[in-house]
Amino acid sequence: MAAKKKANKKTAAEKKAAEKAVAVTEAPAEPPPVEMVKIKVDGKEVEVPKMTKDWEGNPRPTTMLEACEIAGHDVPHYCYHKKLPVAGNCRMCLVEFGMPAMDRATRQPILNEDGTPRIDKMRLPYDPSLPRGAIACATPIAPGMEIYPSSDWTKQMREGILESLLINHPLDCPICDQAGECKLQEYSVEHGQAESQFAEVKVHKPKNVDLGPRINFDAERCVLCTRCIRFTKEIADDDALGIVNRGSYNTISTFPGKKFDNNYTLNTVDICPVGALTSKDFRFQMRVWFLKETKSICTDCGTGCNILVGSREEKIYRFEPRENDAVNSSWMCDSGRLNYKWVGREDRLAQVSGTRFTDRNQLGSWKVAIHEISEILRDAEQGSVAIVGSAKSTNEELYLLSQLAAKTGAITDAVQRLGSGDGFLSCEDKNPNSNGCRLTGFCFTEFGINTSKIEEGIKNGAIKTLIVFREDVTKQGIPVKLLKKLDHLIVSDLLPTKTTEHATYLLPGAAVMEKRGTMVNFKGRLQKFMKAVEAPGDARPEWEFLHELVFNVTGNNGYSTIEGLFNQMATDSKAFKELKWAEIGDTGVEVDI
């Protein structure tokens, strides 16, 4: 481009005026530049794009709210949500603003004495001493516009709106699950006033209403922002909710006799700015300010929705979606969200055990188990080992397993899990890391094709050692009778199964929320997750002891940190393009699948 400009200059120098027109027509075919508009926010000039994308991704004029955000001013709002259509009904985002004055007759801007355009602040037509505010979420910006998000009038408007919203609010924060993450609380502190002018008795509405199997509704707390209605209609495609009754009796309701029951209902709890919609599952479980939030991913299906794990004192209380526009936007499905209770189950495997220890009345220990398994694998004949891994394991674990497989010449296999998808967030592939299984070289193409070979191998005595990770092979066509024929059955799992019962060595592993690692979702997005809670008892993250086994068996010493292990894996396998752990970021990166 610079060269082109130079060339233009040369011609301009030679032929001057005549060439100028040519230079203009020869403009390079670049994408049209983003059209910018100059406005003032609180007296500070800012340039904002003229058009912005709306909730569906279609261009529409930038709103005052977005302009204020660019200028660094947060305008309080309840009904506006960037992932939902604009409703403009809560009025919380009212701001005072002004427009360049224009002469009605000549359509020319009126100038001040110093030559700058005169700005007229918007005033009520019937009382020019009062401002005419506009809702920032639905008012498009115009060139020369001035917005005053921190003026005295704006502050007064906010106070008034908050007072009105609180007329019938029960103020029962001590028993409200939303307390601590409630916009009504936050804005009352930031923008509200302590006193209310309303002396009348509050309208009492029904509390603890059963709106659906997972949703509890408190009509008194509702500010009627309609976020839940818009979400369920536009995003979940289930027009289940609406507002009924009139005036102060306005309330959210389902159609008579119907329940609010789709697989995305709990998202309405997240977007509800107050405590009107609360989760039945999380009801009175823990106050939100105690929860430690850990960035993780959901492993309920192949989508790999980004989540925040809310935990306190090694107990998981809830999952919440974490925004990632490349995967799950701001949402997640109910079945994934509620799939956390098994992590704290009483019968979690927490002790190294297996028949090797129980037969001799010994307590299992990692030291003995790792030492003996290393010897078994080191002395194993080529082809006498089979490994059944799992697409529920992380990339690092599958990478280490494939190294063991390469050393012992083992047959490897994983288990296919197919279910029904809904075309939105729930994926047909119920394994969270099928692609990782393939990319790390543990499995190729289809899963389950080697199971019959393994079965045959055990039958004819060729396979003497079977390693099973996170799967119950008795359900995959290898009966208990055959497992007993094996010399060694090395199993790692989280919960007891038929396979773990017969293990020679049983190694307790860690759930996704109890370790760090990476997975690749069904679209090929590599994502990492962080550790939220400790694994129970002696249980350890699988990559930790697999790393020790690989070192003992192959003699190759790798990294003993998850970061180093990932970096080593990324260097070894082409799929991960020599990525570094730190480069994955919170929202992941695309890899070729």
Binding site: C173, I175, H204, P206, V244, R283, F284, Q285
Partner: protein, 185 residues
């Protein structure tokens, strides 16, 4: 403002008036004690100690005028407690029904570790329900550490009744006075 120090007189510099005054006070106390006019010791524990008003003794849970548990398990005291002496188990979705039905919840378990407690009174100050008060007990004893962790029943029994705010009662009254809400039924 700076106050200028007054120069001492010759007599004051000699310290004699101060010494005489001090000996006088001592002699007065000695006389009063010897003649039994004033007691300076107390026969604790035979005689109960009367603590001054506003004394910060052990924190106990209280019940309202109708003998209902006032605590709604909001866990603000647990949050604000500097030595982390308070541990509350919330009722969860299927917990016990609260004594006052419209208050919706009360703690399943409420524990205060009196060995950790520093009697600062933050719990009393933060409580939105006036359900916990630092009372007059200062002599807490137990034979084991476990015994010094006071549970909900023990705290309620020791705390007694305090009327205080009656917001839940008022709410119930207001709600009962209104017509049935249109969507009900």
């Amino acid at each position: 403002m700076i106050i200028k120090r007054r120069d001492l007189t010759v007599l004051e510099k000699s310290h004699i008036p101060a010494i005489v005054g001090g000996v006088g006070v001592t002699a007065k106390h000695l006389f009063e004690t010897l003649t039994g006019k004033k007691k300076v010791t107390q026969q604790y524990p035979e005689e109960p100690t009367i603590v001054p008003e506003g004394y910060r003794g052990a924190p106990y849970l209280v019940k309202d005028q109708d003998d209902n548990t006032k605590c709604v398990s909001c866990q603000l005291c647990e949050f604000v407690c500097p030595p982390k002496a308070i541990k509350i188990t919330p009722p969860g979705p299927d917990g016990q029904v609260a004594d006052r039905e419209n208050a919706e919840k009360m703690p399943e378990e409420f524990e205060i570790n009196m060995l950790r407690c520093i009697f600062c009174g933050f719990c009393q100050e933060v409580c939105p329900e006036e359900a916990i008060f630092l009372q007059n007990d200062f002599s807490l004893t137990g034979k084991s550490r476990e015994e010094m962790i006071y549970g909900k029943e023990k705290l309620l029994a020791l705390g007694g009744q305090v009327e205080g705010i009656k917001k839940w009662e008022k709410k119930q009254r207001d709600a009962d006075a209104q017509d049935v809400f249109p969507i009900e039924g």
